[in-house]
């Protein structure tokens, strides 16, 4: 397997994860979608120095990992490419914001360091939440529930097709990198001089295939909307879960648990 095929394999593993069974998997997709959106909105809304208050938000993903049986390792493995990018966002803060902010055992910690850590934690939390949503729900049910929330059909279809076409592009890329390496043995990566034509070819080939795929959809009676598998009705427990999550998130946003605990201990 070359790198690209591995990527493709990973994509299909997401479908496998989503096909498993656990109390989290059994929740209604809309409940999971809404709670994830609420979670991300709350996480993002924390101030840039509120590291201590943000930390308890970690509880939710940890709990979900436990209950769903999705392993934390798989999560970090899948996110290994995006995670560093997201984490790198706050990297320069310490250089701009040097005023000491708090003292930990006599060592001054600058505002920049605190805001960097806060940003990193925010990125990590949002990624984990999105990953958990995908790993326990599956793209088709997600799209179905987006439709039920009256997100325009065009947008949802676009999302679904993008997800599918990523597979198509990766496949073409796999074939082309293999062909390249067979004729450039011992070379690491693809030489800069070939990038232009390589990308051009990739685009043309993906477009050709996308067009054939689209043709094959049309031939099977496709009219701009998918018939998603029926989702069971939204039941009381789903509502309780969604509301419960939202309430807890709001509570954590209002009340700084870390500080509360800290003051209890000090006293």
């Amino acid at each position: 397997m070359n790198k690209m095929e591995k990527a493709l394999h990973e994509l299909s593993e997401m479908d496998d994860l989503a096909a498993q069974d656990s109390p989290v998997h059994r929740l209604h997709p809309t409940a999971k979608l809404l709670s994830t959106i609420a979670y991300i909105a709350v996480v993002v809304s924390f101030g840039k120095y509120q590291l201590g208050a943000l930390a308890p938000m970690l509880l939710w993903p940890v709990l979900l990992f436990q209950v769903s049986g999705v392993s934390v390792r798989t999560c970090f493995y899948k996110l290994r490419i995006v995670l560093p990018l997201v984490m790198a966002v706050g990297l320069f803060n310490p250089f701009y914001d040097r005023a000491p902010m708090l003292y930990l055992g006599g060592v001054a910690v600058s505002g920049g360091v605190v805001s960097m850590l806060t940003l990193m934690l925010k990125g990590l939390l949002c990624l984990m939440a999105s990953f958990l949503l995908m790993a326990t729900t599956g793209i088709d049910s997600l799209c179905a529930s987006l439709r039920r929330l009256h997100v325009p059909g065009m947008l949802v279809t676009l999302l679904l097709l993008t997800y599918r076409y990523v597979g198509v592009m990766t496949e073409e890329l796999a074939v082309m990198t293999d062909a390249y390496h067979l004729r450039a043995p011992g070379q690491k990566g693809i030489h800069v001089s070939a990038w232009g034509s390589f990308l051009g070819q990739l685009l043309l080939r993906s477009m050709d295939r996308a067009q054939e795929l689209y043709g094959s959809m049309l031939l099977r009676g496709y009219h701009e909307h998918f018939h998603y598998a029926p989702v069971r009705p939204f039941a009381l427990p789903d509502g309780v879960y969604t509301l419960g999550c939202a309430l807890v998130f709001l509570l954590l946003r209002r009340v700084d648990i870390s500080q509360l605990l800290g003051s209890l201990l000090v006293r």
Partner: protein
């Protein structure tokens, strides 16, 4: 019934790929569309399905193919693409097979019953919940045929159904084709397969018809076949 009346087509202006093509395929016929690579076989099929638009008239059951009746006509024709990877776009074989029937407003139960019936008929029950990109080339070709059969088309078009298959899988596909009751149009340069599955043969060469007649006669004509870069079927050689 499918009829081409003086159909021409060019991908690029001035470079005709199909030139003044006329033929007629009656109900229940099984026709082999043969020709060397680039002869225009795939193009003929795409024209028939309205995926490409050329000059001249194409009639299906007496009505001319146009924008208004495109979806009705497509419903009558089932197309098995040359590259099964481009045919299957849902995650699993089952979902792919459901796609067509659901678009034609069948209820989920009805659609699933059809899917199961087709899978059983082709002996493919084991493939039902497999992931499309984890099955072998031979299984994928059979699954692609199954997705088309699940739509119960009146006519089946197959573009090089045995290309890239090993002898065992090729044989399975041939036996399946032989058992289909529908009108069939099968493109290929695998002339042994055509001999096994078709009664009539249209020989296409550079976008024109070079011969049209009973399979037994056309496929025996060594001089004709060789003049168009084909060879006698092994069985007749």
């Amino acid at each position: 019934m499918i009829e081409f009346q003086h159909v021409s087509f060019a991908y690029e202006k001035g470079r005709s790929v199909i030139e003044d093509l006329s033929f007629r395929i009656g109900d229940g016929e099984s026709v082999g569309l043969i020709g060397a690579n680039g002869a225009g076989k795939s193009t003929v099929m795409k024209l028939m399905l309205g995926l490409l638009a050329g000059e001249g008239k194409i009639l299906v059951d007496g009505s001319e193919l146009n924008r208004a009746n495109l979806s009705q006509i497509r419903r009558k024709l089932g197309f098995v693409l040359q590259n099964s990877d481009n045919q299957m776009f849902m995650p699993t074989v089952y979902e792919d097979m459901m796609f067509g029937p659901l678009n034609y407003m069948l209820s989920r139960e009805e659609a699933e019953r059809r899917v199961d019936a087709v899978l059983e008929r082709l002996g493919l029950q084991a493939l039902k919940h497999r992931h499309n990109h984890r099955i072998s080339g031979g299984e994928k070709r059979m699954a692609a045929i199954a997705t088309v059969l699940a739509m119960e088309p009146e006519t089946i078009l197959m573009d090089e159904p045995t290309s890239a298959l090993d002898p065992y899988n090729r044989r399975i596909v041939i036996n399946t084709i032989r058992e289909l009751g529908q009108t069939k149009l099968i493109s290929s340069h695998d002339l042994d397969m055509i001999l096994d599955t078709c009664d009539r043969v249209i020989l296409l060469s550079e976008g024109r018809i070079a011969a049209d007649g009973p399979a037994e006669r056309v496929l025996r004509d060594r001089a004709l076949l060789e003049a168009h870069h084909l060879e006698l079927p092994l069985r007749l050689a």
